[in-house]
Symmetry: C2
Subunit: 233 residues, 2 copies
């Protein structure tokens, strides 16, 4: 037991060293790390230390272990599921309102930027996502995942990395509050999504921003209506 603190410290140091190599681009996102055996040789530490260091970087979302395959750098190193700790907020409906407010500030501008900057491939993908949402709704299935993909594709087409990282965090948090089976809401979603997608396709920034604003105002009003009558668990 006397050895444990020292090994913990060593594992932290090795984790820093490995992270440094990812930061420097020595190992790129999606790339496979050398074998455990090679890392032990290279870093001149024991197997337990290497394993603990890898575990630390898994917790930090830098590395991932694929069973029977090896250790890889994740696609978006350092990004975490709930980076702002929204899960820890006490008042869930206040959180929902705050999220709607932030979306209304950000996403119309993101849609406008996407209209200005989207490549032809990006436009095609946004239109494909738009159709996927419609199909999910018409088949009576949840369209949450398709909806996230649609908004994420627009954020990516803004060509702003920060926006493309931030927007999904907000979108995902809001989606917990949207009752996707509400039929008047889904009708509106189909219509405003289509307006947003078409405006981006013809590179009309004003129209894309305006349509996105309308879409989000509808969503917000739905959440506010539900929050009046419901208790959130």
């Amino acid at each position: 037991m006397a050895e444990r603190p020292r090994r913990k410290q060593l594992a932290d140091q090795v984790a820093e060293e490995l992270q440094e190599r990812v930061l420097k681009g020595e190992w790129k996102p999606g790339e496979k790390l050398p074998t455990e055996f090679d890392l032990i040789e290279d870093l001149n530490v024991g197997r337990g230390t290497v394993r603990e260091a890898v575990k630390i970087l898994v917790t930090r979302n830098v590395l991932e272990i694929r069973r029977g395959n090896g250790t890889y750098v994740v696609e978006n190193p350092g990004q975490v599921e709930d980076p702002f700790g929204f899960a820890f907020y006490g008042d869930k409906w206040k959180l929902a309102e705050d999220l709607c407010e932030v979306r209304l500030l950000l996403e119309p501008d993101i849609a406008a930027l996407a209209a200005a900057r989207a490549t032809r491939e990006e436009v095609d993908y946004i239109l494909t996502c738009c159709e996927a949402v419609e199909q999910a709704i018409h088949s009576g299935q949840s369209h949450s995942a398709a909806d996230m993909e649609f908004h994420g594709a627009i954020a990516a087409a803004s060509h702003n990395h920060v926006m493309a990282s931030m927007a999904p965090v907000i979108q995902k948090s809001v989606s917990a509050f949207i009752e996707v089976t509400n039929s008047s809401l889904t009708e509106m979603t189909i219509q405003t999504h289509r307006q947003v997608a078409d405006a981006i396709a013809r590179h009309d920034a004003e129209a894309a921003g305006a349509a996105m604003r309308e879409h989000l105002v509808n969503n917000r009003d739905h959440i506010v209506t539900v929050s009046r009558g419901a208790s959130f668990v």
Copy 2:
């Protein structure tokens, strides 16, 4: 060694259980947890498992260990230093430009909301922060920390939790690119900060937004100028 995987799993379960209690508000932000001895009794697991579970939640920024004092829930559970993994971005100047763009979308609106919603105490604190920045500049010291506090105080006065969580992450990331010793920039900072603070104090949302926009445009132009001649390490 055969016992290790099982203990790891158990520690993960105990970590989930402890986190659940924080989520439910049983232990609030800033509050002290029961002693290790009491947790062992309560959870019916060994000391090693409790310690490992606590360590997991320290890594997740839910708990912190204060030496010789005990284990506490952190003030902002679940929030991490660099939640979007900006440190891992390859092109630092492109990142700087993206950050400036996002700030320009968000912060004028945040300033306008603060002007509409700030309490008297919040206005006083914003004015105090404004003076602290001026004093730091006049004494020839770095005003980075004071600047962060000023912008953070405005985000808090927006009364939007999401905004107050997100804005500092952006601000902190941008600050790495601002050369604080540039004298024309510090002159401008003093002037536009003062305009923002005064507009918030008289609850003039339009003026607060406009002054913040001017401030951030100046910052952006400075960063773009520097990026043309410099290489970022």
